[in-house]
């Protein structure tokens, strides 16, 4: 695997002595164009963009992301549109890593190979598949590797020691640590100290892996976790979009403002 954009992004952040800021928004929320405009607008501030491909039975997502997901689907978003958004984004932001995130059934219906070919064509940098855990994901993860796409393994507080070792060994450049037992958007119910301790345990096994923390990261918690390699904010952005729509404001302006605030807290 050649030096990935993801790896480079983490390297750059390390040099600047800060964690990478990673955002998650749902493709097609609230329209195809708007969701593209949003990630384009925040790409200057954000280090890595995650784009969700919506599924209507999301078993690991809380209310905020569900709302965004249903909104996108209601507006008729198709998987082809997700690739269209990804393509346009990568054309405008060649060096900005883009991760697609979603559930396995969408990939399965398209066919793993066809899906990955599409990812390769539009230059997607990484994939997170919420419901395809290790070791079930081994074959698919290897296919990703062959196409220079990072398959991002997830680790949680319930992951056992032996399992952790195996997952780290199977991982590519980035590992996603789920901060607590929760769906996305839950309130942080574990102390940042404890989360960082778990983070260090993972990190110490292989320092070359970039370990990011997600779930429960908001404006008020982000600064306490800034010693991680990266921090993922998703539900906050989704609720900001919901709030903007409800208040008839422009989601782009509001999301930019939120992302700037988040960035300032980790500098």
């Amino acid at each position: 695997m050649k030096e990935s954009l993801l790896k480079l992004a983490f390297k750059k952040c390390r040099e600047e002595k800060r964690p990478a800021l990673i955002t998650y928004t749902v493709a097609g929320d609230n329209t195809k164009k708007k969701s593209l405009d949003i990630i384009n607008a925040i790409s200057k501030t954000v280090d890595i963009c995650e784009l969700g491909f919506p599924h209507n039975t999301p078993i690991a997502d809380g209310g905020q992301i569900q709302t965004s997901t249903y909104r996108a689907l209601k507006n008729g978003l198709k998987i082809e549109d997700v690739f269209y958004i990804a393509k346009k984004f990568k054309l405008a932001n060649k060096h900005k890593p883009l991760i697609l995130m979603g559930y396995y059934n969408i990939i399965f219906q398209m066919g793993e190979n066809k899906f990955l070919k599409k990812c390769e064509q539009v230059k997607v940098d990484g994939l997170i598949v919420v419901d395809l855990p290790y070791p079930e994901n081994q074959i698919f993860a290897n296919k990703c590797k062959k196409k220079n796409i990072n398959f991002i393994q997830l680790v949680s507080p319930t992951t056992s020691k032996e399992r952790l070792k195996k997952i780290i060994r199977a991982s590519h450049d980035m590992i996603y640590y789920i901060s607590m037992l929760s769906t996305t958007g839950g309130k942080l119910k574990v102390s940042p100290k404890r989360i960082l301790q778990n983070f260090k345990n993972i990190k110490n096994q292989n320092k070359s892996k970039n370990v990011v923390i997600g779930f429960g990261i908001t404006e008020s918690t982000i600064s306490k976790l800034k010693s991680a390699d990266g921090l993922v904010v998703g539900s906050s952005l989704c609720s900001e979009i919901t709030r903007s729509i409800n208040n008839r404001q422009d989601p782009i302006t509001n999301v930019i403002r939120l992302v700037n605030k988040l960035k300032n807290k980790i500098l």
Partner: protein, 409 residues
């Protein structure tokens, strides 16, 4: 795809938990991996533990009321003038349906796991009602997830749940039926798996839940086999076992002990919900050849669009109103051991009228789907054919719908 003889069907999966190499498995978030594995280990120990089995059997006998009756429906048989019609009256069980077996076993497991809280999903409300009963009996605090639409149409069961001290959590997302209730219940478990046990209400969900439920409802056929032997002196040459299939827990349990018999001797007929005649929607993925996909942690045939979005189903019977179907039934269909068909809402209602006219039996709308097909096939069969229908639920919960549709209950 082949079924092995002399190995319980629930154990015929590979190391990834897949039956027939492709159905079931564990398509779950990482957070659930450990609780699922813990449950696998615990269950594999418990099912070999004599004390545990004794305990289960004691509760099944004294509390659930095993065995439920196996009766001949003489009047219906005479009226249809073909094969003999029999019923396994599983609705005799405490609470009025087969869901009590799975609920009881899950509560026993939860106690062994040291959990104080139990959560479950429900469609028709029977799974929820039984879980609330069992939780109350075994001293566990229960939370039941139920679609808002189902809460409205299955009020009697909701009242029972509340009376048993369970909390009903209404689910407003998606179609507001069983599918969303299962999703929400799984989400709750993701967040609380350290303190809480989850009971999946049917033979669906991640591999271990399919196994536990199938193992529990198999009580039905464990009772039925000796009952048949007692009645006929042997397993007759032409037995047909009719059962409705939603998630597929009652049908699997009804068939399990007979899987090793030849299809020509003991035939399995699974009846899915065809939905209203006028509607294109249905809840019959096996009958209508729905595509393979992932739903609630398992690979199965599921009603979905070509993009992989799960589609809404429609059925008069809340208990069958589910987009997916047990991986065990996918396996039974593709190995050609069982035959699947569907009955419409109208056919189920007609069957209800027919059965209640001739017999002192009050099957809920779910088993009425099975009665519909059995009653249609019986006249074409000879008298030596033994048609057995699993009357797996009582219609009291459907009072409102039946009154509305038939003008009386």
């Amino acid at each position: 795809m082949k079924i092995k003889n002399k190995v319980p069907l629930i154990d015929q999966h590979d190391k990834f938990g897949l039956w027939g190499g492709k159905f079931g498995g564990n398509y779950i978030p990482e957070t659930l991996k450990k609780p699922v594995m813990d449950l696998e280990i615990l269950f594999s120990k418990l099912r070999k533990n004599k004390e545990f089995i004794k305990d289960r059997d004691k509760h099944f006998k004294q509390w659930v009321g095993a065995p439920t009756r196996f009766i001949k429906l003489e009047n219906l048989t005479n009226h249809l003038n073909g094969g003999q019609i029999w019923a396994k009256v599983v609705s005799d069980a405490n609470g009025g349906a087969h869901k009590i077996y799975n609920a009881t076993v899950h509560c026993l497991i939860a106690k062994k796991a040291g959990k104080k809280f139990i959560v479950g999903d429900t469609g028709a409300g029977y799974a929820g009602k039984m879980l609330s009963m069992a939780a109350k009996k075994f001293g566990l605090k229960a939370k039941i997830f139920m679609g808002a639409k189902d809460i409205k149409r299955q009020k009697p069961n909701c009242d029972a749940m509340k009376k048993n001290g369970a909390e009903i959590v209404p689910v407003y997302s998606g179609s507001q039926t069983l599918i969303d209730a299962v999703s929400e219940c799984m989400r709750y478990w993701v967040s609380n798996c350290d303190t809480t046990h989850m009971c999946v209400g049917s033979t669906v969900g991640p591999n271990i839940f399919v196994k536990i439920c199938g193992w529990s409802t198999s009580q039905i056929s464990r009772e039925l086999k000796p009952q048949i032997l007692k009645e006929f002196g042997k397993i007759p040459n032409k037995v047909k076992l009719y059962n409705c299939v939603g998630g597929g827990s009652s049908s699997f349990g009804f068939w399990n002990e007979f899987i090793d018999y030849k299809k020509s001797q003991v035939e399995f007929i699974g009846v899915e919900a065809g939905g209203p005649l006028k509607s294109k929607k249905h809840a019959a993925p096996l009958t209508n050849n729905s595509k393979l996909g992932v739903l609630h942690g398992a690979m199965q045939y599921v009603v979905q669009n070509k993009e992989g979005q799960i589609e809404e189903t429609e059925s008069i019977s809340a208990g069958l109103d589910y987009s997916g179907v047990s991986p065990l039934h996918c396996f039974l269909r593709d190995s050609k051991r069982a035959r699947y068909t569907s009955a419409s809402d109208e056919a189920a209602l007609k069957a209800y009228k027919l059965v209640t006219k001739y017999e002192n039996l009050n099957p809920s709308l779910e088993p009425c789907h099975a009665f519909a097909v059995a009653c249609a096939e019986a006249p074409k069969l000879k008298k030596n054919n033994i048609l057995i229908i699993n009357s797996c639920g009582d219609a009291i919960k459907d009072k409102k719908i039946l009154k509305e549709k038939l003008g009386k209950y």
